[in-house]
């Protein structure tokens, strides 16, 4: 259970809300670079943290992200014409540069003086990896550019997809933290074939531990940028198999690796209070993705989704009950009856409603990880609001993190056993079984 005021506090991210202010202290992914594929290409609508924005790439190659609506009479600049140095509103011809500054208002006699007073709200839009990121907060407080490993390895080693999810961001994040759902929702088939059926997970020794011990124990450990959530299962005599999921505030999680498969994770980015982007990435720290891996990712395997061509809406969505297959649900081939990890998650998280009423939950003791994460979020929000305390997670030290899968002696704290395997280190492979 969560008090209604705290549920509001954590779920509302629009301008001027406390959680919105927290989010505005982090670089967030906005677009894939493919969405603005070349200089002078058409603009793209982007809504993030309840702000409707337009992203442009000028003929000179400058990226810009600004208020979607023309200052004159509110026309959507989606219909604008990209011209040199900026974009022109098609209604009466006002023109803005990539920073939203009006640079030409043809109807006015004293053009330049008038222009000087017209500026659309704008934010930086910066390419790091295959992603365009924005920072929507106080420019004075702007943190260093993002250094997440998936975005900083060479392009051939990484792949990112996104899908729209019709739920508040916190429902999605909580799915990323709630490791205890994995054996259920993502389970299926006789003894772990669920994992073996996916080319992006198959063949790892970890899958056997998974199948051999379906009631994992959990340890939740404080970490500088957030939490580490360790799921342990029995391995060989006197040893445990650990799968460790890092959460970095506010909305970054990683899934523990399997074998030498690429490692993956998510950003859960609020679009508005009732929708979010599930960004899903897959990367290998030391080698290029194989053709087969990339094809599988594009086809929606692993953490990715099969989207309706030309959109970021999954083919299996709320309109068609996620194409639930009652036969496979019955036989247990797919435990939930829904195909694929991403849609298994989205189907259930969307089914809770756009913003789940957390006063009606019946949490249990083993939900302690989620309870702890909410508490940390709440504290970060309140500390920023009431004491102007700097948030964690927006600096390189907290972002150079990896998930880990490892077998350790039974008496070892996993943090100690794992050592610097949590650290993203250039040229060093992931720690995995």
């Amino acid at each position: 259970m969560l008090r209604p005021d705290i549920n509001d506090l954590l779920t509302q991210t629009g301008p001027g809300t406390p959680m919105g202010d927290l989010f505005r202290r982090y670089w967030q992914p906005v677009l894939h670079t493919d969405e603005l594929p070349e200089d002078g290409c058409p603009p793209v609508r982007a809504k993030i943290l309840s702000e409707r924005l337009i992203a442009v790439r000028t003929p000179e190659g400058e990226y810009g992200l600004m208020d979607e609506f023309c200052a004159h009479r509110g026309v959507s600049l989606f219909f604008g014409r990209v011209e040199e140095q900026g974009i022109r509103c098609p209604y009466h011809g006002w023109k803005y540069d990539a920073n939203g500054q009006a640079i030409d208002v043809p109807s006015e006699l004293n053009n330049s003086e008038f222009c000087a007073n017209v500026k659309l709200r704008s934010y930086p839009l910066v390419k790091v990896g295959d992603i365009l990121w924005t920072y929507m907060g106080d420019p004075e407080k702007q943190p260093p550019l993002p250094t997440w490993e998936f975005a900083t390895v060479p392009s051939g080693q990484t792949y990112t997809s996104k899908r729209i999810q019709e739920s508040n961001w916190l429902q999605a994040l909580e799915g990323g933290i709630d490791s205890s759902h994995v054996t259920w929702l993502h389970g299926g088939g006789p003894k772990g074939t669920g994992l073996e059926a996916d080319p992006l997970f198959a063949g790892s020794r970890g899958n056997k531990y998974n199948a051999g011990d379906v009631k994992p124990f959990f340890e939740v450990v404080e970490n500088e940028g957030g939490l580490l959530i360790g799921a342990r299962r029995n391995a060989e005599e006197g040893h445990y198999y650990w799968r460790v999921t890092p959460w970095v505030l506010p909305n970054f999680t990683m899934v523990p690796p399997r074998g030498d498969h690429p490692m993956h994770g998510h950003f859960w980015v609020p679009i508005d209070d009732e929708n979010c982007w599930a960004w899903s990435f897959d990367y290998h720290p030391t080698r290029d993705l194989t053709e087969a891996e990339r094809e599988a990712m594009i086809a929606g395997a692993g953490v990715h989704s099969k989207n309706i061509p030309g959109t970021y809406r999954p083919v299996a969505n709320s309109e068609n009950d996620y194409l639930i297959n009652r036969e496979k649900q019955k036989t247990g081939e797919w435990f939930s009856g829904v195909e694929g990890i991403a849609i298994q998650d989205s189907s259930l998280q969307e089914s809770m409603g756009p913003i789940v009423d957390r006063t009606k939950e019946r949490l249990v003791a083993t939900d302690a990880g989620i309870i702890k994460a909410r508490q940390k979020l709440r504290r970060a929000v309140e500390a920023l609001r009431d004491k102007a305390e700097e948030p964690v997670g927006n600096v390189p030290e907290h972002q150079r993190i990896r998930s880990v899968a490892i077998v350790l002696p039974a008496d070892q704290p996993f943090v100690e056993g794992i050592g610097d395997a949590f650290q993203a280190r250039e040229g060093v492979g992931q720690t995995t079984v």
């Binding site: 939740v220 309109e319 409603g353 789940v356 949490l363 003791a365 939900d367």
Partner: protein, 160 residues
Amino acid sequence: MAEPVAMSACARAITAEEAAFRIDYPLAYARSTRIVAFDESAEAVMRGIADEPWGQARFYTVNATGEQLVTLDGEAVPMAQEIEHSDSVIMLATNGIKADAVAAVGMAARERAIMTAGLLFVDDGELRGETLMAIRPHARILLVPAEHEDLYQLLVAIRA
């Protein structure tokens, strides 16, 4: 491509508000949450919140073997009987943990399929391996290190 599922279509909400609709009726409290402090420092944390108006949670310390729980008023009661009808046992410990006691309680909970969670407070900053080993096998989920406030938040969240 889309297969309409006509039969339950009337349950599909139209607005966000409708989609969020839930029948409003009071929710039951958890059933007999037992909170057990396994050493003195943990007891101090527990006493700090025990006076809150909890629904049905009960708070205990424990003897060395774990066979006896001791209520906050100092009354000794048989452990097995006391947790019998509980749905969760929350274990609190610091480096002074009584290993035999936690094993006895943990085993009794497992036999009765009672959910367990552990909060390991590490106030002196150092987590010792034997402390971890004592509680690890018995708590389905372990917060390590736990903050004092985690206990209160956990009990509120589970409607204890």
